[in-house]
Amino acid sequence: MRGLAREILLVSIVFVLISSLMASLSIAATSAPRDLTLGISDETAKSLGNVCFATDVGAQAMPCNPAFIARESNPNFRAQIFAGNNISYLQDVSALLAGDGSQDNVHRLFNQTRASQMEANLEGGYRRPTFGLAFSPYRLTYYSFVRNSSLPVITLLAAQEQSLRAQFGSYIGNDWSWGVQLRGVRRTFISKTFTLTDALAEDNRGLLEPERQNAFYIEPGILKEWTEERWRPQITFAVTQFGAVDRKVEDFPASPQWHAGAAIHPPVGLGNWEIGTDIVLDSKTSRWTDPFRIGSSYELGMTKISGSAGASDYAFGFQLRYHDFTGGLTYTSQLIDNWLGENEWVRTAFIQFGFNI
């Protein structure tokens, strides 16, 4: 009993210290969020968030957690186009560029209370038992944030990525599986903070000069299932963003993320239902509630519905499959402390089209 109490005390101390460490590493957020710069742009990753590391559902090119490739049953080829944005000022910019702009358009443009972002991805992948390969020739991300209405300061990130990833996995035995993803990324990007007058001055060429970064990641994962149990529980572990870059860039750090997840498959009369949870830790985790997320997906025939929720956001996705084609809509909503310290809901809609052969 005394031994157990000591163990509990030690675990509690470790937990408190880890939380303090994470809190001390928080940095003021006027740079692009990590889930945009380093995230996965597909329907499953958006609707389930990091719970996708605890499950393998959806039409994405490859599973988030490479351990799931070990249980791939039939070879198949998948491709998808995915895009979405929450940019609120497109209309104002269009009006100004067309010469129809008014002072109101300009005022809205320079008095934004939150950042705007966009992402799009084109990817194709081939999966077979124990092996998978995926190539994305274009992943586009865009982030902008304007503050100081007296002399607008603009933070801009626009990036184009090409990535090639290969997954290898296998059963270890006793319902344990392992997998590893090798991922190479080539990025071309513009990442600058400048004032409006910097942009207006004649020698502004250097402002939008593109830079490059090459990265290579080794991302392992582990899966343990209880396939004989009625609810088929499973636990997962994964490490992502573990690798090296040829030059350090603040927006694209080589900083690992640690995932620990679990999922169950409640038996239902029709279709397949999966409920999962995932905890993710990285250097940007600032509050103790940030790592936790819960998600669920339900698939019946050609329809799949999925959703997830975290401490301050939720997402909902709907996917339809017709023969070899898939299409879907995902909707995310995040509660933020906007630039003026007010609560604001930021809503983003994504669309996805793809096919599975």
């Binding site: 210290l17 003021a28 300061v153 409006l196 004649e202």
Partner: protein, 280 residues
């Protein structure tokens, strides 16, 4: 026991990691972002106070820009209202012909002609002073017409704008010079407005002059004339600095700006030469 001993170095590493201080650059960047936030909330006094403190330790151009923009915001000058003007700024064409055609010079020429046609004695020195002064104001009117869309500031707002203009002196970036040029143009507009207020009073006096009542049409050597002399010196300095700032930001405009500056300086110096001689 062995497992528990493993915890000790782990706890030590975590504790030391938690105690790692934020780097100075990040801390300064945070304070700058905090100042932007305070400005966007409209508390310019607090933003200025924080940025004054920050500028003592952080010499980055971004901090100076933020401080200048805080002063400008408190003076009511926000670039969102003038960025179109700034992007499309064109120098006025200042030449003899353009100056002679300004309303200032045309009006004064009519007044002088009317006086000459009826006067028995002519005061050529006095008329020369008036003519040169009108030509100087004519040249400056060309600038004032170009600055039509800018406001004139007075009192506390003007002091804030002067501080902002001073903070941005010798900025490292062309964008900084462009912002300083905007501040300089607003101050120039304010200078010209106060100068033209005084000139309009002189015009009224000249218009009220009745040759039938006798006397010469002349300008007395009053403090007003000396004040105009000092005023015109100040305007030239401001104009010269602002033209230089615009030329750094827009190098392709340097030739036209240099030409306009040279002519403006000529008309002003001609008045200053006569003004000093007339009052000796």
């Amino acid at each position: 026991m062995k497992n528990q001993l493993v915890f000790i170095p782990l706890l030590t590493a975590l504790l030391l990691g938690a105690c790692t201080p934020k780097s100075d650059q990040h801390a300064s960047k945070d304070r700058l972002e905090q100042a932007y936030r305070i400005m966007d909330k409209g508390d310019y006094d607090e933003a200025i106070s924080q940025l004054e403190e920050l500028s003592k330790e952080d010499t980055r151009p971004e901090v100076r820009e933020a401080l200048a923009s805080a002063y400008a915001a408190r003076a009511g000058i926000k670039i969102e209202n003038y960025w179109g003007f700034l992007a499309g700024f064109q120098s006025p064409k200042v030449s003899n012909e353009q100056v002679q055609n300004t309303t200032t010079v045309v009006r004064i020429a009519k007044v002088l002609n009317s006086a000459n046609s009826s006067q028995k004695k002519t005061d050529s020195d006095g008329q020369d002073t008036i003519t040169k002064m009108a030509q100087m104001f004519g040249a400056l009117q060309l600038w004032q017409d170009r600055l039509n869309s800018l406001p004139a500031v007075r009192g506390g707002a003007r002091k804030d704008l002067e501080r902002a203009w001073s903070v941005m002196k010798d900025h490292e970036k062309s964008g900084g010079h462009l912002y300083r040029a905007l501040l300089g143009l607003v101050l120039l507009k304010s200078d010209l407005t106060s100068g033209f207020d005084g000139w309009n009073k002189i015009e009224l006096k000249l218009k009220d002059y009745d040759p039938a009542k006798g006397g010469n049409l002349t300008l007395q050597c009053t403090a007003d004339l000396n004040a105009f002399g000092d005023w015109s010196l100040g305007v030239l300095v401001r104009l010269g600095d602002t033209v230089e700032d615009i030329s750094i930001a827009f190098p392709s405009k340097r030739p036209e700006l240099a030409g306009a500056m040279k002519e403006s300086r000529r008309f002003t110096r001609e008045f200053q030469r006569i003004q000093k001689g007339a009052c000796e």
